[in-house]
Amino acid sequence: MNKTFDLRIFLPAFILSLIGILLIYAATYYSSLPEAKALYQKQLIWFGAGLAVCVAIFFIPLKIHEAFAYVYYFLAILLLVVLLASSRGTASRWFHLGPVNIQPAELAKLAVVLALSRFLGFRKTRLDEFRWVIIMLAIIAVPAGLIILQPDLGSSLAFFTLFFAMILWSGMPLNRVILIVTPVLSIICALHWFSWAVFFFVVLILIFLSRLRIWQGVFFFFANLSIGMVTPLIWNNLHEYQKMRIITFLDPGQDPRGAGYQIIQSKIAVGAGGLFGQGFLQGTQTKLNFLPERHNDFIFSVLAEQFGFIGCLIVLILFILLFYRGFAVALKARNQFYSFAACGLTAILVFQVLINIGMTLGLMPVTGLPLPFLSYGGSSLIFFWAAIGFLLAFNRDWQEY
């Protein structure tokens, strides 16, 4: 067991989950609502369920998942469609099944990782043909689009991160990877003519260096050119309130009474933590209800307020251990399917940790992405424990060789 069951993967996740429950307890301790006070108990149950899923995945032969990857994928899409259809225009991210709420987006993440891995692991030709990239994009775009419609921008962003990580992992030359993402970068750079001019010059060099076929080069040339021209036009034709929405999304400090309020309160809580924190169950940001969504998206602020820099560092180290083991499994995996899946799952983990903590510190927009293992929420916890299950299983298969 100790050879095949990697404690270096299991233990950090396990400890993080326990810390999460402790923080949820602290975050809701002063709430006046009894159901809020009971959230840590619910999370404990979810934790049990997550462990069960993890063990189940560990013991089910990986071949089955490999075989059913596309089936999972279509089932996930079906779920998303049903959710969208049943919500009838109102925002909904959950299926309500009695006392349990299920977030299909989390299931979809897993399904997409498996489907992409299956696709990339079994390809017969090299991926320098952009055809494959387009198929990959399609595999991702369908569920991501359905999730954007919920609307849940944050979760859908995780899918595009997945895409980026997967093409890097496929071994595509770096200049081509960059070239593929240039149309997206073009939108950002086009907000000022000078930055866009520099950017476009870089794109031209990349096209030249990448030794593309003529039509591919022409495609990237015109894609970037048109996006660069259209973006300022669209921006200038937006209403003032629409611009404000985009600006406050990117920089919440611009709106101290609305979105900025959460960020300001979160930063105050973090800053007040100091080296050792205010102490467990101490600290007025939590106590007096100033921290919004503190058991959920802003759980890291509770950690920072009550346990200070030391507490944050411990949690970050646990995450780094997980990242490291995740990529290690991906590097040594026995076959390409395992390798891509391990990389994809780890990439989602990394992405959510960075985005969530960045948001807490006011470095990133407020996207509503939970912090893996720590934030309250069953679907998220189960997804990440499923990911741990897969990583453990991939690791075992490599050891068995």
Partner: protein
């Protein structure tokens, strides 16, 4: 091919790893900076976050009269505050509150807008709520979210409105008040003195507001005072001890009220202390303590008698015959006349140029000395004296007597009155637009000459006190809440331009006005007290003449100088003089001299 792909994957893996590590490093550095090196920035924000600093209003200083009788004090009252954070719809809240507070919803929204200091900071909507209103809102608490009450001191003035022109009134600081204030101690809606002593002594009366620190949740719920942070108690404003004698003040206002409008000033000639400052009609200063409702304001300001107008220091009237003393002063001091000087006898009128000027007594006064002319108030004598003095000398001397200059009483907004001079007439009527006979009217206190009642009292006090002109003082002492006191010392501002022998002559004349059988104010004589005074009738182009009486007593060593003007009451002797007598009687009934008086009377046959 595969090898190539693996090679390239390894490279990409390192790029990815470096990106991730750089991001984590960035987060750690940011955390380090925020938590350990933010220089207390977040710490301060953190400490302020759950704390609501609520001012505790300091009670204003009380005001007492010279005997220690408390005249102006404070009483507890309810103020209503709104916490914007707890209100879902300001529109509907304004409508509900407007109904209960008798105010237009628009006005309430305006108050909220002006008073906004953040959504957790309570905004005061109204002071001094009726207890029934407080009960009603408490009973219907669900209809009024975000409402809190606070007990605050409110000014309480005498019920009978007496003295209102002394202390004036307070009000809420407006944007205009804030613009003027350079102390930075006021915020919108704070209480500030607007008139009278309340305004003049604002910085003493105000005291210092205290603070308390309340712990509040983000939802605005108050958990109580913040543990470990002591409240700063307010410092009560300094008390004012006045020279005012409330008993005399009450008599003056009661008597004046009989006639409708007028003013009474009583001054102690020995030091300038103001014993009475009455102006009628008066007003209810209590109505002004909070926000003045529009109805009250309109009622008060549209009243034809102008109850907010302080006649005693702002009312300017022709002085009538009371001025003759100063025309006489001009004659005596400039050596134009002596007691031996006689003019043409009075035959009831005299022709100057081609106009006939009449004496008040159609029968005439025959040949008079200056003393008799004062006693009988003979106009013809003073016409001739005026012409002899001439306009320039007359107006210069009268100005030296400090007519046309504010007395400097410690109240805001005192008027100066007017002493016309040749320059004045030139600018008013043109270089040759007036005749030298304008001096005739001025010499008997009519025409364009204007004086205030307080000027009259101050200068008659000087006549009785060797010509020494004191600055009138209402406040005698300022007593701070820690017991320290500041004496307001008597202040001599000038000396009447008259020699001792001149003053003796005037004094004899004034005594005769009351004591002589031909005097115009025989009705004032009080057994045992010698009163020196002068009646006057101020011609009023808008209606009946105003009645003047000015005096000092006891004549040999004056303790009081009294100036009375009763508007539209006709002749000074019949209305103003008896009113002054009532004040003197009241004053001297307590005095040792009054106890001596039976003896004095008995020994004199």
């Amino acid at each position: 091919m595969i090898a190539d792909s693996h090679e390239s994957r390894r490279l990409n893996y390192y790029v990815l790893l470096i990106g991730i590590l750089a991001s984590i490093l960035f987060i750690v550095v940011k955390l380090f900076g925020m938590q350990l090196f933010s220089g207390g920035f977040y710490r301060r924000a953190y400490e302020q976050n759950g704390v609501r600093v609520v001012p505790i209003q300091a009670p204003r200083g009380i005001i007492t009269d010279t005997h220690g009788t408390v005249l102006v004090k404070n009483r507890p009252s309810y103020s209503i505050y709104l916490v914007p954070y707890e209100v879902n719809s300001l529109d509907s809240a304004s409508i509900h509150l407007g109904r209960v507070l008798n105010r237009e919803p628009e006005k309430i929204k305006e108050q909220i807008r002006l008073g906004w200091q953040g959504r957790f900071q309570p905004i005061r909507l109204k002071r001094d709520l009726k207890f029934e209103t407080v009960c009603y809102i408490e009973e219907h608490a669900l209809e009024f979210p975000g409402i809190i009450f606070q007990v605050e001191p409110t000014r309480s003035y005498p019920e009978n409105n007496f003295g209102s022109h002394i202390w004036g009134y307070i009000g809420e600081a407006t944007e205009a008040d804030l613009a003027v204030d350079d102390s930075g101690n006021y915020s919108l809606g704070d209480v500030i003195g607007k008139e009278g002593l309340e305004k003049q002594y604002e910085r003493y009366l105000r005291g210092q507001n205290g603070l308390k620190y309340l712990e509040v949740t983000a939802g605005g719920r108050i958990l109580g005072e913040l543990p470990g942070k002591d409240r700063i108690n307010p410092v009560r404003g300094s008390a004012l001890e006045l020279e005012i004698d409330w008993e005399l003040q009450e008599i003056a206002e009661t008597e004046l009220a009989v006639y409708g409008s007028g003013a009474v000033i009583v001054i102690d000639p020995r030091d300038g202390g103001v014993r009475v400052l009455a102006s009628v009609p008066n007003f209810d200063a209590n109505l002004f303590s909070g926000v003045i409702s529009r109805e009250v304001w309109e009622a008060v300001s549209s009243d034809s008698l102008h109850p907010l107008f302080n006649r005693s220091i702002k009312g300017t009237y022709p002085p009538g015959s009371t001025m003759k003393l100063f025309t006489a002063t001009a004659g005596l001091v400039n050596d134009i006349i002596t007691t031996e000087t006689f003019f043409d006898p009075c035959r009831g009128a005299k022709k100057f140029g081609n106009r006939i000027f009449r004496c008040w007594r159609p029968g005439g006064h025959a040949k008079l000395s200056i003393i008799d002319a004062i006693i009988q108030s003979c106009d013809v004598y003073f016409y001739q004296l005026g012409v002899k003095i001439g306009l320039d000398l007359w107006s210069r001397t009268v100005q030296d007597c400090r007519f046309g200059t504010p007395t400097g009483v410690d109240l805001p907004g005192e008027f100066a009155g007017l002493v016309p001079s040749a320059d004045y007439f030139d600018s008013r009527y043109g270089k040759d637009g007036w005749t030298k006979y304008l001096i005739l009217n001025l010499a008997i206190g009519q025409g364009e000459l204007l004086v205030t009642p307080i000027q009259m009292a101050v200068l008659y006090a000087a006549l009785g006190n060797d010509g020494i002109i004191y600055k009138p003082r209402i406040v005698s002492r300022i007593i701070s809440s820690d017991g320290g006191s500041l004496e307001m010392r008597p202040e001599i501002v000038a000396q009447l331009p008259a020699r001792k022998e001149n003053l003796d002559i005037l004094h004899q004349g004034l005594l005769g006005v009351v004591a002589d059988e031909r005097g115009t104010a025989r009705s004032v004589s009080i057994a045992g007290i010698s009163v020196a005074g002068k009646t006057g009738t101020a011609q009023n182009p808008h209606g009946d003449d105003h009645a003047w009486f000015v005096c000092y007593a006891p004549a040999e060593g004056p303790e009081l100088a009294v100036a009375v003007i009763v508007e539209n009451a006709g002749h000074g002797a019949s209305v103003a003089a008896p009113l002054a007598r009532k004040i003197l009687e009241k004053y001297f009934e307590h005095m040792p001299i009054a106890l001596d008086s039976p003896d004095t009377i008995n020994t004199q046959p």
